[in-house]
C-alpha cells in the first residue's frame, strides 16, 4: 500500500485524571475511507483533533510532509459580529475562484453564496462546511459527523458525494459517523472506538466482532450488514447472527 498520509502510534490523551484515549494506532492511506464509530463520549472527536494537531497528546504522530488537510468540524462557532458571506467564508481558506465555483456547485450551495453565514440553516451549514473542507483539494479529508442535522435524503447524497470526491481527488478520508447503514458500503476500514480501539478492519469483519456486538448490540450489527457485500452468515428473524459456512446472501 502507498505511504500513509497520517500515522499515529501509541497515542494517549489524558484530561485531568481521566483517560480519554489510550494505545491508539491509526493509519489513513490515500484513496481509502476510514470510519470511526463508537458510543457517545468514546473519544472520537478527541482522536480526530489529535490527527489535526489541535489537541495535546503523548505518543507519535507522523504526517506526510506538507500535507493539505480539509477539515469539517462537527459544529461551527462563528462570532455574530463578523459580517461574512458564504462565498467569502469559503474563500478565506485561500482557494481560487475556479475551485470555489466547482465546489459550491458540487455541494449545491450556489443559491446561498451571497447570504450572510449567520443566516444559513443547519443542513445548509453542513454543506458549506463540507465545501470549505474541499475547496483546497485536500489530500486528507477529516469529517466529524458530516451528515449531522441533514435530512435523510440529504444524508445519502452527502455520503455519496464524499465517496465521489474521494475517487476524484484520490484523497484519504477519516470520518466520524453514526449513520452506519449509510456509510459502511463505501468504507474501507472501520475503527470501533471506546477510549481504546475495540476492533478494527473491514466492515464485514467488524460487524461480526464480539467486541463490536457487545458495544452496539446485535441490532446495529444486523442493520449494518445488509449494506455490505459477500456475507458469510445468515440472520434469524430476531436479528441474531448464525454463522454457516458459505451460506451468505448476496446483494449484487
Amino acid at each position: 500500500m502507498s505511504e500513509a498520509l497520517i500515522a499515529l502510534r501509541g497515542v494517549e490523551v489524558h484530561v485531568g485524571s481521566q483517560t480519554i484515549l489510550s494505545h491508539i494506532d491509526l493509519d489513513v492511506h490515500p484513496k481509502e475511507i476510514v470510519t470511526l464509530i463508537g458510543p457517545n463520549g468514546a473519544g472520537k472527536t478527541t482522536l480526530v483533533r489529535v490527527v489535526l494537531g489541535l489537541m495535546k497528546f503523548s505518543g507519535t504522530r507522523k504526517l506526510k510532509p506538507d500535507i493539505k488537510i480539509g477539515y469539517m468540524p462537527q459544529k461551527l462557532e462563528l462570532n455574530p459580529q463578523l459580517p461574512i458571506t458564504v462565498k467569502r467564508f469559503l474563500k478565506i481558506s485561500g482557494a481560487n475562484d475556479k475551485q470555489l465555483a466547482q465546489r459550491m456547485a458540487q455541494t449545491g450551495i450556489e443559491a446561498i453564496a451571497h447570504h450572510p453565514m449567520q443566516s444559513v440553516s443547519g443542513g445548509e451549514l453542513q454543506r458549506v462546511l463540507l465545501a470549505r473542507a474541499l475547496v483546497q483539494n485536500p489530500e486528507l479529508l477529516v469529517l466529524d459527523e458530516p451528515a449531522q442535522g441533514v435530512d435523510v435524503i440529504g444524508q445519502a447524497e452527502m455520503y455519496s458525494l464524499i465517496n465521489k470526491i474521494k475517487n476524484e481527488l484520490g484523497c484519504g478520508v477519516l470520518m466520524i459517523s453514526h449513520d452506519l447503514h449509510l456509510v459502511m458500503a463505501q468504507t474501507d476500514r472501520v475503527i470501533c472506538l471506546n477510549h481504546h480501539v475495540c476492533c478494527h478492519g473491514h466492515p464485514d469483519h467488524v460487524s461480526h466482532d464480539p467486541a463490536f456486538i457487545e458495544l452496539f448490540g446485535a441490532k446495529v450489527s444486523e442493520n449494518m450488514a445488509p449494506y455490505t457485500h459477500h456475507h458469510d452468515h445468515e440472520h434469524d428473524l430476531h436479528g441474531n447472527i448464525s454463522h454457516k459456512e458459505h451460506a451468505g446472501h448476496h446483494h449484487d
Partner: protein, 262 residues
C-alpha cells in the same frame, strides 16, 4: 491659530483610521478586555519609567507588549477563567503602578491626563511617532488580512489549513499593544480603547463584509474625532471626552435608526 489644532487633529485622525480595522478585530476576536488590560498595564509602565527615570514612551511600549505576550499565553492555557484572570492582571498592574508612583517622593500623578490624555498638547514629535506606528500597523494588517479574517472566523479551521494561528494572534495582540501604548500617551486610556471599540461596533449592522466594517469603522472614528475637536474648540470642552461622547452617541443613534427602520 490653525497650528494649535493641526497636530492634535491629524494625530486623532490617524488613530481613528487605524482604530477601524484594529477595532474590528477587537470585536471579532472578543478582545475588548485585552485592550482594557493592556491599557491598565500602561500605568505600570509610566510608574516604572518615573521611578527609574527612563524614557516613558519606550517603557510603556515594553510593559504593554509584555502584557500582551503574557495575555496570549494566559489565553491559551486557562481558557475557562479568562475574564477573571484578565481582571486580576489588569487591576494588579494598575494598582502596582499606583503604589510605585506613591513611593516616588514629591510626585503626584495627574490621573486625569492618564485617563483622558491631552490631545491638544500633541506636538510634532508625538505626531510623527503616531504616524509611524499607524503606518506600521496598517501594513501588518493589510499584509495579513486574509489570514486574520480566517483566524477571526474560525481559529481551528485556519490552523488546519496551515495558518500559524498562535503567531498571528500574538502579532495582532502586539500590534494592538503598541497602538494602545502610543495612543495613551497622546489621548489617554479612555479615548484609545473607545476609538478601538465604539466605531467598529457602530458599523457592524450596516455592512456585509469584513472590509466594509473596517472601512466604515474608520470613517465613524474620523467623524467622531473631527466633531469632538470642533466642539472642544468652540465650546471649550475637554477634547478626549468630547470625542468619546460623540462616538458613543453615534453608536446609540445608529442602533436607534436601524431599529426604527425595521
Amino acid at each position: 491659530m490653525i497650528e494649535i489644532i493641526l497636530y492634535p487633529c491629524l494625530a486623532g485622525i490617524l488613530l481613528a483610521l487605524i482604530g477601524g480595522p484594529l477595532g474590528s478585530f477587537v470585536i471579532w476576536q472578543r478582545m475588548a478586555y485585552f485592550g482594557e488590560s493592556i491599557a491598565h498595564s500602561a500605568l505600570l509602565g509610566i510608574a516604572i519609567a518615573i521611578f527609574l527615570n527612563i524614557n516613558m514612551t519606550i517603557t510603556m511600549l515594553i510593559v504593554c507588549c509584555s502584557m500582551a505576550a503574557v495575555l496570549s499565553q494566559v489565553q491559551k492555557r486557562f481558557q475557562l477563567s479568562l475574564n477573571t484572570l484578565l481582571a486580576i492582571m489588569a487591576h494588579t498592574s494598575l494598582a502596582t503602578g499606583l503604589v510605585i508612583i506613591s513611593l516616588i517622593p514629591g510626585f503626584r500623578l495627574d490621573i486625569n491626563s492618564f485617563l483622558f490624555g491631552d490631545l491638544l498638547a500633541i506636538g510634532k514629535q508625538d505626531f510623527i511617532l503616531i504616524g509611524l506606528v499607524s503606518v506600521a500597523s496598517f501594513m501588518f494588517i493589510s499584509n495579513q488580512w486574509q489570514k486574520l479574517i480566517s483566524l477571526a472566523a474560525n481559529e481551528e479551521l485556519a490552523f488546519v489549513e496551515g495558518v500559524n494561528t498562535n503567531r498571528l494572534q500574538l502579532l495582532l495582540l502586539l500590534c494592538m499593544a503598541i497602538v494602545v501604548a502610543i495612543g495613551i500617551k497622546a489621548v489617554g486610556v479612555l479615548l484609545i480603547v473607545s476609538l478601538l471599540v465604539i466605531p467598529a461596533a457602530t458599523s457592524r449592522k450596516w455592512v456585509r463584509s469584513p472590509e466594509a466594517m473596517a472601512a466604515l469603522a474608520s470613517t465613524f472614528g474620523v467623524a467622531a474625532v473631527l466633531a469632538g475637536l470642533t466642539m472642544s474648540y468652540y465650546a471649550d470642552t475637554p477634547a478626549g471626552p468630547s470625542i468619546v461622547a460623540i462616538a458613543g452617541f453615534m453608536y446609540f443613534f445608529s442602533q436607534l435608526f436601524l431599529l426604527l427602520k425595521k
